[in-house]
Structure formats: structure tokens, C-alpha cells
């Protein structure tokens, strides 16, 4: 977990491989998957060039893609940890992302508004609201786990029932968001200007976007420190790797699970808030991010938070570059194509086990 697994010779029986098997082995390697992803990205670039998009605009799009990748990455860390520890795809993770964005929105209305920190579009109250909403969403995730998933665990329910319960919870949380804040769009700071800055290489980004990227990096470092340096983080990785073995070694799995939800929920809230800052708040925003998050999770190898981050950056960039010639609402489709490529080539993901 975390470190790249060394390739190992797994065929002690001596026999010549057939051609099909050899091709299969080559296709399954990490290098081949990376090459396939590179081909997709190149194809997107060529398509953009054919549409007459300038190189500078493409660079700007790639920079925005990094930012979007940071947002997706924050969401998919929680997703991949839950997937790794509890072994089910959590379809309500998108709703947690939305909930985080709306909690921040509610706290902003409640906190006193300060002067905007130029060139950013928000004042001090925004980071405070974010810091308040992150643990709150983590708590919501923990409560949902206690109310629903723990009962299923105690019943030793089949894993598909977990997935279905998470679908139910996704609609439950979404309906609460609709009831509390209505179906309309919201903005954190309606009508406040946030002009684009010009960086070297003529990349145009807004200060808010730089803030999002910086905050994503800080949170990632925090996650890294938590997972690598603390006891609970190590226990989390061990449980994701092999729950039975972790339990045998005296790790309290229920405690690890509670911490996983707390961490995942908090990061989802951060991702949602940043997504809300970069565009607007919609009740469906988390659902829209769900597919990119799953794609990043699978691309990075299930249960591997660093892999999920790498996958998220690739997907974010691919998505933004594709907007040069495609309707931006097709973002999930781009993520989906990348996910299908991963599933076809190397289902265990970039950093999963097996193969070379």
C-alpha cells in the first residue's frame, strides 16, 4: 500500500507462454496503461488543435485541470479509503461533497463578512467556514455509518447490499439538501469580481483557483502525514490492505472505520466547498463529480489514496482540455472513457498489485 509493488515472478512452472498470453501480459503492464492514458491526452490535444485552440489557452486549461484534479482528488481520497476499508463503492460520497459545499454556504451566512483579501474574492470568514464545515460533514458520514452500514456489517450482509444502502443514502442526503436549500443555484459571493491573473507563459488563472490548488496541496500533505506518521493512519492503511490481518494484529476495526468516515467526509467537504467556489452551488454538483471520483479511484487502484490523487489529476486535466472543443457538461463522459480504458487494460489500476 502506498509504495509501488515490485514486480514479482509469479510463474514458477516452466512452460512457454502462448502468443496470446504474452500479449495479455504486455497489455496488463503499468507502462502500457500509462501509454494508453497518454494517447488519450494526446488525442484530446490534437482534437483541440484541429479546432484552432491556441497553445496558450490549452496551457491555461491544463492549469485549471490541475485545480479540478485537486478537487476531484480530495473527494476521491475519502472514496478510495472507504472502498479499501469497507470494500464497497460508496455512492453517497457525491452527496457528502454537496453537503460540505452547502454547510460552508450556511456558515458564511452566519459569520460576519470581512473585507475581501485582494486578489482573492473572499475574506477571512471563508476559510473559517470551511474549517467548520469539514468536521461537520465528517460527523454526518460517521452518523450515517452508525445508522446504516454498521447494522449491515453486524448482519454480515452481502456487499451489494452495502452499495444499495449507499445509493439510498445518496438520495436521502440529496433530498435533505433540496429541502434545506432548494433547487436553485447559489454563489458564495454573488457578483463579486475575481479577475484573472496572468502568470508566466501567459497562463491566465484566477487567484481563487490558485488558492484552491494550494489548499488542495496542503490538505494532501496533511493526509500524507496522517496516513504515514500517525498510529490511526497506519491502522487505516493496514485495514484497507487486509482487514482480517489487521484485526488479528489487534487493530480496532470499528475505530478505524469511524476515523475513515470522518477523514473521508471532511475531505469531501473541502472538495465540495472548493468546487462551489470555482463555479456555483447546485444540489446535483456532487452527483456530477461522482463519476470522475470513481474513475480516479479505480485508476489509482482501490484503497490507494496517492493513486487516487494521481488519477484525479489526470482526469481533471483531460476534462478541462476536452472543454476546448466539447460541451463542458460532458466532463463525466471523459472521465468515463478513461475509466473504461483502465478497466480494459489493467483493472487493478495504476498502482494496484500484479503485473509489471
Amino acid at each position: 500500500m502506498g509504495t509501488i509493488q515490485e514486480s514479482e515472478e509469479r510463474a514458477p512452472v516452466k512452460r512457454d507462454k502462448r502468443l496470446g498470453e504474452r500479449v495479455h501480459d504486455v497489455v496488463q503492464t503499468r507502462a502500457f496503461l500509462l501509454a494508453a492514458i497518454a494517447v488519450v491526452l494526446l488525442l484530446l490535444l490534437v482534437l483541440a488543435q484541429l479546432q484552432g485552440v491556441s497553445a496558450e489557452r490549452l496551457l491555461s486549461l491544463a492549469a485549471w485541470g490541475m485545480m479540478l484534479g485537486g478537487i476531484i482528488g480530495l473527494g476521491s481520497i475519502g472514496l478510495t479509503l472507504v472502498y479499501g476499508v469497507l470494500k464497497f463503492p460508496n455512492f453517497s460520497h457525491g452527496a457528502l461533497v454537496t453537503l460540505g459545499a452547502y454547510f460552508t454556504f450556511a456558515f458564511l451566512a452566519w459569520l460576519p463578512q470581512g473585507e475581501p483579501l485582494s486578489p482573492l474574492s473572499f475574506g477571512w470568514e471563508f476559510p473559517v467556514a470551511l474549517l467548520l464545515s469539514m468536521p461537520l460533514v465528517g460527523l454526518v458520514a460517521m452518523v450515517v455509518d452508525r445508522a446504516v452500514y454498521r447494522r449491515l456489517r453486524n448482519q454480515h450482509a452481502h456487499l451489494v447490499l452495502f452499495a444499495m444502502a449507499s445509493l439510498a443514502m445518496a438520495f436521502f442526503l440529496r433530498s435533505i439538501i433540496y429541502i434545506a436549500w432548494g433547487p436553485d443555484f447559489h454563489f458564495y459571493y454573488p457578483g463579486r469580481p475575481n479577475p484573472a491573473l496572468t502568470l508566466p507563459l501567459n497562463i491566465r488563472v484566477r487567484a481563487d483557483q490558485l488558492f484552491i490548488l494550494a489548499l488542495a496541496l496542503v490538505l494532501m500533505l496533511g493526509v500524507y502525514a496522517l496516513l504515514e506518521r500517525t498510529r490511526i493512519g497506519k491502522a487505516m492503511r493496514a485495514t484497507a490492505d487486509n482487514p482480517e490481518l489487521a484485526q488479528v494484529r489487534g487493530i480496532n476495526t470499528e475505530r478505524v472505520i469511524a476515523w475513515t468516515w470522518l477523514l473521508g467526509g471532511a475531505l469531501a467537504a473541502a472538495g465540495g466547498t472548493m468546487y462551489g467556489l470555482s463555479s456555483q452551488l447546485r444540489p446535483e454538483m456532487g452527483f456530477w463529480l461522482l463519476l470522475p471520483m470513481f474513475a480516479a479511484t479505480i485508476m489509482g487502484g482501490i484503497g490507494n489514496p496517492y493513486g487516487a490523487l494521481a488519477g484525479a489529476l489526470i482526469i481533471g486535466v483531460a476534462h478541462q482540455v476536452s472543454t476546448a472543443f466539447l460541451d463542458p457538461t460532458y466532463g463525466p463522459a471523459v472521465a468515463f472513457v478513461l475509466m473504461v480504458i483502465v478497466l480494459l487494460v489493467r483493472p487493478q489500476g495504476l498502482f494496484g498489485r500484479g503485473g509489471g
Partner: protein, 396 residues
């Protein structure tokens, strides 16, 4: 008895009898009792109910039939094979739009500026339904091949994505099926029987019998058509699931390793059952399109077309076709009934907050989501359990 009510009653006998056949236990007396009771039920409904409430009942039953078909399709996938298809809405949409494109006449002249579509062939209804089945089979196959050879939970992720992408395509691509604007004027099958001149090809006496019907009675006629479709689908699926093929599906669902040891090709069979389920969903989409006449992308929201169907199947009983249909009708009843409930609690909500009454509709979502969670937690087998022994040759 006025002739109109008589004709309505005659038409209603078919769906009423089919409903009773579904509900009554499988005994020797089922068929005669169902026919007699069906006749009584049909005529008592048409004579006692005011025409407005009768029309509501008919539209309720028609939508119930659409959902029953969707639930039957999902039952093959989830109930018998254990596929987590969270993209029912996608196959439903494909069926609806395919059938619409096949049967609508392409607009010409000034109308072509308002309604854009890739093609409009103006073919008969049944060709549209067949095309819907075919196209959703192809899409299901393309989804299933890369995903189904892997872990089962990847299918859930992939199908939720496919459904979203299909919806995005029908939302954005104006050239394909009029983009975000609705696609109008989908022809209704055998609409001529309710028109004054009648169908030319029908015998004289049938036209005379059906003469009292006016175009506004057409939904009743469509209910007959769609209930026959549901009955046909039920019989076919029930037969398939009781055949060796159905037992093979269940074997692969429950004991993958031993099924493989007995020489079953796991991936191949899984793809088969996924495609068969998607075909039924596509047909449901086609029948829906011809019923509502006007469709657009918003009809195929994940809530109405995926989530509700899952609640229906889980409530009725996964792996039991009768349970699937009954669950479909019950949940559709709960969903329609809570619309009245939402209206009723509006004044109460107004006391809490000003803009809450406008959001009363979302309390229905809340209720259905809690219903699904409760079923998963407390009764995952549903109302009617799966039958353990399905072979005719084994005595129970």
C-alpha cells in the same frame, strides 16, 4: 347501460383479469375465478367511478405497467444474476428515444426549424418497439463486455456513468432528438380505433362496437395494449427463469466457483442476462414514449427511472417475477399517493419557513430513500421471497 360505459367495461376486462391472475394464488381455480372476478371488477369500476377518477386510475395503471416492465427487466439482472445495474434510466431513455425516432415522421418545412432530429422514419409502432429492444441490447452489450469480466461492483459504477452520459447526450445534442427541447408527436398505436371513421382494416362489426369511443378514451385502449405487453414479458421471463437457463443464472449468482466447475462460462452468461434485462427496459422505454407522446431528457432522471425501480424490486422481492410486478405497483402507488401527502403538509411547512412549501415535493424523495434503506436493513428478501425450487419436475 350506456354504450360508452359498456365498451369501456369490455376493454377493462383484459387488464382487470390479468391483475387478478397476478394476485391470486396459483391454484386450479385461478383462471376461471380471475375471469369472472375480472368481468365483475371491470364493470363495477366503469359504472361506479366518475369518468375523471376512472381516467386517473387508467393513467395510474398504465404508468404502473411501465414500471412493472422496468422492474421485470431489473429482476433478471439483479434478482437472478446479482448485477448491480444503477443505470436503469439509461436503457429506459434509449428505448424511448429509439422508438420515437423510428416512428415519428421527420418534420418538413417550417416545423423542421423547431424540431430537429437525426431521422424520423415514420415506421409502425411494433417496428419502433423492436428497434428499441435492439438498440438497448447493443448498448448493454457494449457496457457489459469490458465490465462484467471484472468485479461485480464495477458494473454499478459503470452503469451509473452510462446512464448519466446517455442523459447528457439527449440533453445536449439538438441534431439527434431535438436537444433540450421535447420531442413531440410520437404516434400512438391503433389510434384509429378511437377516431370517428374507425380503422379501415378492421371488420365492420368491430368498428361498430368500438364506435362510442372518442379520442379522449384512448388511454384506456393503451392500457389494454401495455398490460398485454407486461403479461407477455412476465410469461416469457417466468418461463426462461424456470428453464435450465434460469437455474444456471442463479447458480452463477450464488456459487460462482461451482458453476464454473460445472462448465458454465461465467462471463458469457452474465453478459447474456444483462442484455436480456436491458432489452426489457428498452421495451418499457418505447411503451412509455408512445404513451406520453412527448418526451425529453428530464423524464429520464436517475430518481424516477433508476432509484424508484430499485425500491420497487427490493420491496416486491428480488428473484421473484410476481413480486417484482406487485412491488412496482405498490411503490408507484406510494409515490403517487405521497403527491397528495405533499400537498397536505404544505400549510404545516409554511409555519416553519416561508419557502419550505415549494419544496414539499422533496419530502417524497426522503420518504422513498428511507423506505429503500429500511428494506435493505430489515427485509432484504422483499415481500415475496424467491422460490427455492423452480423446476416443474421436482415436487415441493
Amino acid at each position: 347501460m350506456p354504450p360508452l360505459i359498456l365498451v369501456k367495461g369490455l376493454l377493462l376486462i383484459i387488464p382487470a383479469t390479468l391483475l387478478l391472475l397476478l394476485v391470486l394464488p396459483a391454484r386450479r381455480w385461478r383462471l376461471p375465478v380471475a375471469i369472472v372476478a375480472g368481468v365483475v371488477l371491470a364493470f363495477s369500476l366503469t359504472t361506479s367511478l366518475p369518468s375523471g377518477i376512472l381516467a386517473y386510475t387508467v393513467s395510474f395503471a398504465t404508468m404502473g405497467c411501465v414500471y412493472a416492465l422496468l422492474t421485470l427487466g431489473l429482476n433478471i439482472q439483479w434478482g437472478y444474476t446479482g448485477h448491480l445495474n444503477f443505470g436503469v434510466a439509461g436503457f429506459f431513455a434509449i428505448g424511448a428515444f429509439t422508438s420515437a425516432l423510428m416512428t415519428v415522421e421527420a418534420p418538413t418545412g417550417i416545423a423542421a426549424q423547431y424540431t430537429q432530429m437525426a431521422f424520423g422514419l415514420g415506421l409502425p409502432f411494433l417496428v419502433g418497439v423492436a428497434a428499441a429492444a435492439l438498440v438497448s441490447a447493443v448498448v448493454a452489450f457494449l457496457v457489459a463486455v469490458p465490465v462484467l469480466r471484472l468485479r461485480m461492483d464495477f458494473l454499478a459504477i459503470a452503469t451509473i456513468g452510462v446512464a448519466e452520459i446517455i442523459r447528457l447526450i439527449f440533453q445536449n445534442e439538438r441534431w439527434l432528438a431535438n436537444g433540450p427541447q421535447p420531442l413531440r408527436g410520437i404516434p400512438q398505436p391503433l389510434h384509429c380505433v378511437v377516431e370517428t371513421q374507425g380503422c379501415a382494416w378492421l371488420p365492420q362489426w368491430v368498428t361498430a362496437v368500438l364506435d362510442p369511443l372518442s379520442p379522449r378514451d384512448y388511454p384506456l385502449f393503451y392500457l389494454v395494449i401495455i398490460s398485454l405487453f407486461v403479461a407477455g414479458a412476465y410469461l416469457l421471463i417466468e418461463r426462461a427463469c424456470r428453464s435450465p437457463w434460469g437455474r444456471m443464472l442463479r447458480a452463477i449468482r450464488d456459487e460462482e466457483a461451482s458453476a464454473a466447475m460445472n462448465g458454465k462460462h461465467i462471463t458469457y452468461v452474465r453478459i447474456q442476462s444483462f442484455v436480456v434485462g436491458a432489452v426489457i427496459m428498452g421495451i418499457a422505454g418505447a411503451l412509455y414514449a408512445h404513451y406520453v407522446v412527448t418526451i425529453d431528457y428530464s423524464h429520464f432522471h436517475a430518481l424516477f427511472a433508476t432509484f424508484l425501480v430499485w425500491v420497487m424490486l427490493m420491496l416486491g422481492g428480488s428473484g421473484n417475477n410476481r413480486g417484482a410486478i406487485i412491488g412496482g405497483f405498490i411503490v408507484w402507488g406510494v409515490w403517487s399517493g405521497t403527491a397528495f401527502l405533499a400537498n397536505a403538509i404544505e400549510p404545516l411547512l409554511a409555519l416553519i419557513a416561508d419557502d419550505l412549501p415549494r419544496r414539499a415535493a422533496y419530502f417524497r424523495w426522503l420518504l422513498v430513500a428511507l423506505l429503500l434503506a429500511a428494506i435493505v436493513l430489515f427485509r432484504p428478501q422483499g415481500l415475496i421471497r424467491e422460490e427455492k425450487l423452480v423446476s416443474r419436475y421436482l415436487r415441493k
